[in-house]
Symmetry: C2
Subunit: 165 residues, 2 copies
């Protein structure tokens, strides 16, 4: 089996089987504040379970990665979701895997367009934050609390993730 | 009493009595992902109470306001917090009020520097989203669920909010 994966453009339809896309291409929107603001409502819901769970806000400042990327590991969070919203108009790589009989199945890769974020639900295997092209800041909404909220899976052989030409 | 309020620069110290500032000027940060990412951890915690409560993510697309601003109303959310994180490097106005014996006390006004967001805790009186200078998108983290999660207070006379020269 080839271990090369080419990233596709991130769309809500393509990503629906994995998690939520955070962008304004969303039907549930309506004006508020006397029409001065449009609310794109309920793009995702945060999950927080386990001991002393809360939903917390953090900022991640991530350095860019080189491509093709050698993907050696994916992780998941058994107690809660994790959302990444970019604070600058630059793309990042989204890698996710369905859960297979012996850990994560074949990785699926997506490239965001500027302005898109993602929310990974509880227990979805995903790659670490992977900015493309430049250092980027992200608002991260995830679960705080006690207990071990991290599973890591290291692949026997790395995958190679390519950006489309 | 003068009804003119001049907005101050938003700092964590100045805003501490009201809510949370979302920026990287924060001591609790540490490297993750083999040093490729710096996590500015736990800047704020979302609150969600009341019937069928959840923490939800939305995008607000707000139009800019003219200054001096006539402030006629503030609002608060009895069931949860509400965070606003700008998705472009532009400032917005933050207006908050302590709770007084007859509703909100005198407004306090702050101007963010680009890259700063805020989190309003449950029941803090605050002005509506007020971009400065240009249309802006914000990631909003607030409470979903049933029940009435909005109190509005209309001032007998409007306040005038000025930006510092």
């Amino acid at each position: 089996m080839s271990r090369i994966v080419t990233a596709r453009p991130l769309t809500r339809d393509a990503f629906a089987e994995f998690g939520d896309v955070l962008d304004t291409d969303w039907d549930n929107h309506f004006p508020i504040n006397n029409g001065k603001c449009e609310r794109y409502h309920g793009l995702a819901r945060a999950q927080a379970e386990g001991p002393n769970a809360s939903v917390q806000l953090s900022i991640f400042r991530g350095q860019p990665y080189e491509f093709p990327l050698k993907l050696t590991m994916v992780e998941r969070h058994p107690f809660g979701s994790q959302a990444f919203m970019p604070l600058s108009p630059a793309p990042f790589l989204v890698v996710v895997c369905h859960d297979g009989p012996e850990g994560p199945a074949e990785p699926q890769a997506f490239v965001t367009r500027p302005g898109q974020g993602v929310n990974y639900p509880r227990n979805l295997w995903h790659g670490i934050l992977t900015p493309i092209g430049e250092s980027q800041d992200f608002l991260v909404v995830d679960r705080g609390g006690d207990g071990t909220n991290l599973d890591e899976h290291f692949f026997d052989e790395p995958w190679e993730i390519r950006l489309a030409e």
